[in-house]
Symmetry: C2
Subunit: 310 residues, 2 copies
């Protein structure tokens, strides 16, 4: 099987700290925190690998905190083709207050990408891609790269006859679906899709219309997570509303399940079932784990699929 | 010159994040944070090295975030004899709210020390120590080591005819000064000294009496930081109250300056001047830097020394 190539230009280390009560402006004592490689690219690569898909991961990491990423990739059998640059990648700090149950999250934009690291990363991608390769471009862009970076990468990958699944929102998504060539697959959430079409999408049928618009424009697959309402899929000129018992807590696991099933030549309905099962199964899981295979199989059976008019 | 050996069993990475306004329970955006190796041991080793003293640093670090420590030691010319264990050392998160000016700090106890890493660290210390060596034992103890760890290490180092400067508070300090052999030098702050003697020390003369008690018991040098009121020194049967224009913001720099000056065979009065200058000069400095040499020289001249009855 040809590996799926995941690209992450701005990875993140997720640091979770548990406190009895967070007192702002004071010195707080926490339990020992957990530090996990995170960000959309890592989550998707891990989800794919956990479902038996061969994965190559590339992008740019900082020398100072690359070790946890390398350890995770080694543990999951993900081929590590990351380029290193000086410094460290950004981290996200999550402070969990046990008394209030609230989590205070602090995010950072990330370090600027260095030109030589970016050039080396592009060289890796060129070298890894073959006709028919699936390349997943993921996450926010680091400072120093313009909003049309993914649009430009999609054009470059088209020259390799590779297909792109794009997992990002905001301006980077809008630029990528505003020109040609288009990505093969996009997976915005409802808010990101609404932003891209410039109007609110309160009902599932509003989401459907927006997704069909991009599908008719040439985006082969569209996967939209709808949180409590499940997910909407558009592919092969058809559309489905898929609902599970749990909430779509993890859009990255949703996409990973969807791509993994197709990579294993399962049909579209099986792919939707696995996608929702992977996503809802992630609820309550902390760290670099996927739910047990048996759990996901059980969850997949319970997914309800509704054909929508396309 | 014989190097000073600094031992840190529970190092810490200091992570500082700047926010416009911290909203607890929400997702916050911060500027890119700064991550610096910290903790008493690193600060003292760095302060000594910045004043031209040869330093060997040992202790235990986690493989996952050892890189910033290694980079700092290399940059400062500190000989790195750290033992690595799996995992990562603890980090301190500081969230600086630009609107309120308040800093929210979240600390962790640190990872348990692994028996083989501890054994390897003890072997390093045994190998490095020579008769007359000065060994600085620093900071809180990691989970897994008992409160009498420093007391036991002081006894072990006495067999090598080495002297110990002890930079810690709490139970570890009380155990170390409650038996024999005693450390050569201690540098509690006012609260730690009060805790050790079991009573409040509101006036400088109260601090003096407590310090003289330990000095008469056999602790050769006692350095107490008094925050806004400067510092109190007891050595060679004499006592001084040293005051500077600035506040004693940094007890680690105070001890580093004190030990560095003596290592360079300056007299006690010069050592006190350098200690206060190093400490007050650190105010407002973020990261792994010491104040400029010229700044410290200027500050040292302005220190007022008052002999106290001993």
């Amino acid at each position: 099987m040809q590996p799926i190539i995941t690209v992450m230009l701005n990875p993140v280390l997720d640091q979770t700290l548990y406190l009895d009560r967070l007192r702002p402006g004071a010195v707080n004592e926490a339990d020992n925190g957990q530090v996990y490689p995170g960000g959309q690219g890592v989550n998707i690569a891990r989800g794919l690998a956990d479902w038996g898909v061969p994965v190559i991961a590339t992008g740019v990491l900082g020398t100072e905190n690359a070790a946890p990423f390398a350890a995770l990739f080694a543990a999951k059998g993900i081929s590590n083709r990351f380029v290193l640059q000086e410094g460290s990648c950004r981290s996200t700090v999550k402070l969990v207050d046990r008394t209030s149950g609230l989590t205070t999250e602090v995010n950072q934009p990330g370090q600027p990408i260095q030109p030589d690291a970016y050039a080396a990363c592009l060289w890796q991608i060129d070298r890894l891609c073959q006709p028919g390769s699936l390349v997943v471009l993921t996450g926010s862009l680091p400072p120093g790269l313009p909003d049309d970076t993914y649009a430009w990468l999609i054009a470059r990958l088209a020259l390799h006859e590779s297909r792109v699944a794009l997992a990002c929102g905001g301006q980077a998504l809008m630029q990528a679906i505003g020109g040609l060539p288009l990505p093969f697959c996009i997976n915005p959430n409802r808010q990101e899709l609404a932003q891209a079409v410039g109007q609110a999408l309160p009902e599932v049928r509003d989401v459907l219309h927006a997704a069909l618009h991009w599908h008719r424009n040439g985006v082969a697959q569209i996967v939209v997570s709808l949180a409590r309402s499940g997910a909407l899929f558009v592919a092969e000129g058809k559309a489905w509303h898929a609902q599970a018992h749990g909430m779509i807590g993890d859009g990255d696991a949703l996409l990973a399940g969807w791509l993994a099933a197709q990579h294993q030549r399962r049909d579209i309905e099986d792919a939707m079932r696995l996608a929702l099962a992977c996503s809802t199964g992630m609820l309550g899981i902390v760290g670099s784990h996927s739910p047990a295979t048996s759990t996901v199989r059980d969850l997949a059976r319970e997914v309800r699929l509704t054909r929508l008019p396309a």
